[in-house]
Amino acid sequence: MSESNQLTRLLIAWSAGDARALEQLTPLVYAELRRLAHSYMRSERAGHTLQTTALVHEAFLRLLGNPQEQWQNRAHFYGIAAQMMRRVLVDYARTNLRAKRGGAQVRVALEDVGEGAGQAVAQASFDVEVLALDAALAELNTIDARRARVVELRFFGGLSVEETAQVLHVAPDTVIRDWRVAKAWLFRHLNQ
């Protein structure tokens, strides 16, 4: 079985409720992300922008193979992939934070700081923020599941507006409005 087939099998198992499948998935995803991140770092010196879309798509493609071939539909695939990424990244942040022995950085907003000094800030606070965001998102989910899902797909899954619209079977305009409302709610919640 090829690597991506194995990953696909694990992902399907996990989406069907097999919790242990995620444990097996996580290190494979880490390894792939690291490899990708390093290859991007090499080609783009510190301070330059990582091409998010390309990174995400390449990661998914390599990890999970061509979605059309193995999944009932693209939308389902992306939905599950975004959920998995959320779990993996939150887990990664939690592990990092523990390793930093307390790492009590004060949080700032998860902004797209782009270049220069801001980048360092973004990295330093990444772990804290991802955990805070994950918790806030869980809270939003209890009162507004649809908008929470939009955030999961866009932020953790790296999906575009159109892709998010496909997964949720809604119009792109709805995604744009939901995204804006959810962002304002989360921003307020995290800065309160």
């Binding site: 992300l33 330059h48 990582l50 998860l110 990444f126």
Partner: protein
């Protein structure tokens, strides 16, 4: 907030978002009436959050995580040995890796260790770049360039060990806003010195920016990060052999666009003038507190540099005197730009000298300013058409050396006597020796052109003068002993460690309060200047304070006080007078242990050095007389 409340508020909020900005206040007021104040407040807070959260969640988590993973490093472990270095603490993370404070266990000195990030260890290009930085910088030996000790690899990590410098970067200093023009000029002058040394060694820095300039608390400036430095010749040939698109891509990826020269932005071949541009941009930022290129975006900045015919800029009133300098440094076309860091330096000095005069006239009552005025008077009272030394005939040269030498003797102490013709011949011999080096391109200490020596000397002159004046010693003493001892190479190494500006042996250093460990303080020009002054006071106490006795103190500085003391006692026993160096020299063959040749030439060389340094215009040196440089005004 529960499900129902949010359902209602989210609808109201979404409606408010759809309204024009100027109608939102009315809507919120209406909400307060209709739904209650708390609902209205909640919607208002969300509208505010919407405005504030423009960049929030803009980058995907995946991207942030990828960044984080890519910059992960295996932590360098404290107490572990890397080569001879034991890691003490982390100093920070630079553009290309983490920096640690370490102790060299074999030499007992502290060092900064910069580690290449692990992600680059497998990357031949980055590894080569890292090694190039070390090699480039270690080829340079200059007080304004961070000294590289060595490059090493241990535990799978590559590192560069450099001298450990405390202080802040120019970037950090600039967060406090613009600098006083005098402070900015002092920093720019030292950067220019560093660049000049690099250029003379055939290297272009290529990445000069405030982040790469370290400011020590004592006012000393260190240029860092020769990561992009390349030999001038390699640069040229490399660019020739590459299609322009590739070399352009390299420049784009490797430099910081805001300080790049226009030719660098275009990917053209570079020479020293490219660094002159970057120095101009940096100086401009120090004087104004603002970046020359305001573009936030790197691409936009690059485009502007490539395309602009001219870049508008303006200096604040107090810095107007640097207008001509910056016009010449920031010429878009490199052929119209100042051709070298040294030219930058002389124009900078001239601009500064002009204000010194102005200030002197305005408030001549102040002591320091009076000194400047006097210095200026000496400087400016020389007729502008003074013939250069080498354009004069032998008789005129001799007369000039005699006048200059006698003048100098009067500055050393009371009862100065005129020099005899034989003495002038001895002094002139060393003046001529300097002159013979005038077109030298060598960077070897002792073989450089006087231009290089005295340009360097003018950087140190202010605080040497101050140190000597603080001890009530004539400043010329310190200014020219340093020429004779090291020609202003502040950190050359000898068999007994660093020599420092004043060539201290370890025993002398320790006797006058310099520590040799953990850092050799002889390399600290400020500390050794003070120690040299104290050493000379000690010698003056032994031999006396008039002009004659000062020549004995000088030769004792070189030959040792006991030795010279014995020789002086012999003169006294033979009833020979006057008691000075020249008498000692004249009767050298009557001594039990005569002066060695080096000591015989020491005082004449000191005089020759001072003749040049106090009459620079006669020797084509683009400096003021060294004794005219005053702390805060150079």
């Amino acid at each position: 907030m529960n499900f129902g409340q949010w359902e209602k508020i989210s609808v109201l909020f979404e409606h408010a978002l759809g309204l024009p900005r100027d109608e939102q206040a009315a809507y919120l007021a209406e909400l307060a009436r209709r739904e209650g104040q708390s609902v209205s407040d909640e919607v208002r807070a969300l509208l505010q959050a919407d405005q504030d959260s423009a960049g929030f969640l803009q980058a995907s988590a995946l991207r942030a995580a990828a960044w984080q993973m890519a910059s992960e490093v295996e932590p360098v472990i404290a107490d572990m040995l890397y080569g001879n270095y034991c890691i003490l603490s982390k100093l920070g993370a630079g553009g290309m890796g983490e920096v640690y404070l370490a102790q060299d266990e074999s030499l007992g000195r502290q060092a900064a260790l910069k580690f290449l990030p692990q992600v680059f260890m497998q990357d031949a290009v980055q590894l080569a770049r890292f090694e190039r930085e070390a090699r480039a910088a270690s080829a340079l030996n200059h007080p304004n360039i961070l000294t590289v000790y060595e490059i090493g690899q241990a535990h799978g990590r590559a590192f560069i060990a450099t001298e450990y410098v405390t202080g802040e970067t120019l970037r950090e200093r600039l967060t406090g806003g613009k600098l006083a023009p005098e402070a900015a000029a002092r920093i720019a002058a030292q950067i220019a010195e560093a660049l000049h040394a690099a250029h003379s060694a055939g290297l272009i820095h290529r990445d000069l920016k405030p982040e790469n300039v370290m400011l020590r608390p004592d006012g000393y400036v260190k240029l860092l990060d020769f990561g992009l430095a390349k030999p001038i010749s390699a640069e040229a040939s490399e660019t020739r052999n590459l299609p322009s698109s590739i070399s352009h891509l390299q420049s784009t990826l490797m430099g910081t666009p805001h300080y790049m020269s226009p030719e660098q932005a275009r990917g053209a071949a570079l020479d020293a003038r490219s660094d002159v541009w970057s120095l101009g941009v940096t100086f401009y930022e120090m004087l104004t507190g603002e970046a020359l290129l305001k573009e936030k975006n790197a691409e936009a900045a690059l485009r502007r540099l490539r395309e602009a015919e001219s870049l508008p800029w303006q200096l604040p009133h107090e810095a107007r005197r640097f207008q001509p300098l910056l016009q010449q440094a920031l010429a878009i076309r490199s052929e119209r730009r100042l051709a070298s860091a040294q030219e930058f330096l002389s124009v900078l000095r001239r601009a500064n000298a002009r204000t010194s005069r102005r200030h002197g006239f305005v408030s001549a009552a102040l002591l320091t300013l009076t000194l400047i005025l006097l210095a200026w008077w000496r400087f400016a009272s020389a007729p502008p058409a003074t013939p250069l030394y080498w354009d004069m005939n032998e008789a005129a040269q001799t007369a000039f050396v005699a006048t200059a030498s006698d003048g100098l003797a009067q500055r050393l102490g009371a009862n100065a006597r005129p020099h005899s013709p034989e003495q002038i011949v001895r002094i002139k011999k060393y003046v001529d020796e300097f002159v013979r080096r005038r077109d030298s391109l060598s960077t070897t200490p002792g073989k450089e052109s006087p231009k290089a020596v005295y340009a360097r000397a003018s950087v140190y002159a202010p605080f040497i003068s101050e140190a000597f004046r603080a001890h009530q010693l004539p400043s010329v003493l310190g200014l020219y002993v340093a020429v004779v001892e090291t020609e202003y190479h502040p950190c050359t190494q000898s068999a007994v460690g660093a020599k420092g500006l004043f060539s201290f042996m370890p025993q002398t250093a320790e006797r006058f309060g310099l520590r040799l460990t953990p850092q050799d303080e002889r390399c600290d020009p400020h500390k050794i200047a003070d120690a040299a002054a104290r050493y000379l006071i000690h010698l003056r106490e032994r031999f006396g304070a008039d002009a004659d006795a000062m020549t004995l103190a000088l030769v004792a500085y070189n030959a040792g006080e006991t030795y010279v003391g014995d020789n002086v006692a012999r003169l006294q026993a033979l009833d020979l007078a006057p008691l000075n160096f020249w008498t000692l020299l004249e009767h050298n063959d009557r001594q039990a242990t005569p002066l060695r040749p080096e000591s015989q030439s020491y005082v004449p060389r000191f005089w020759a050095a001072a003749v040049l340094g106090e009459h620079p215009q006669r020797f084509g040196l683009e400096i003021q007389p060294l004794s005219a440089y005053v702390m805060g005004m150079n």
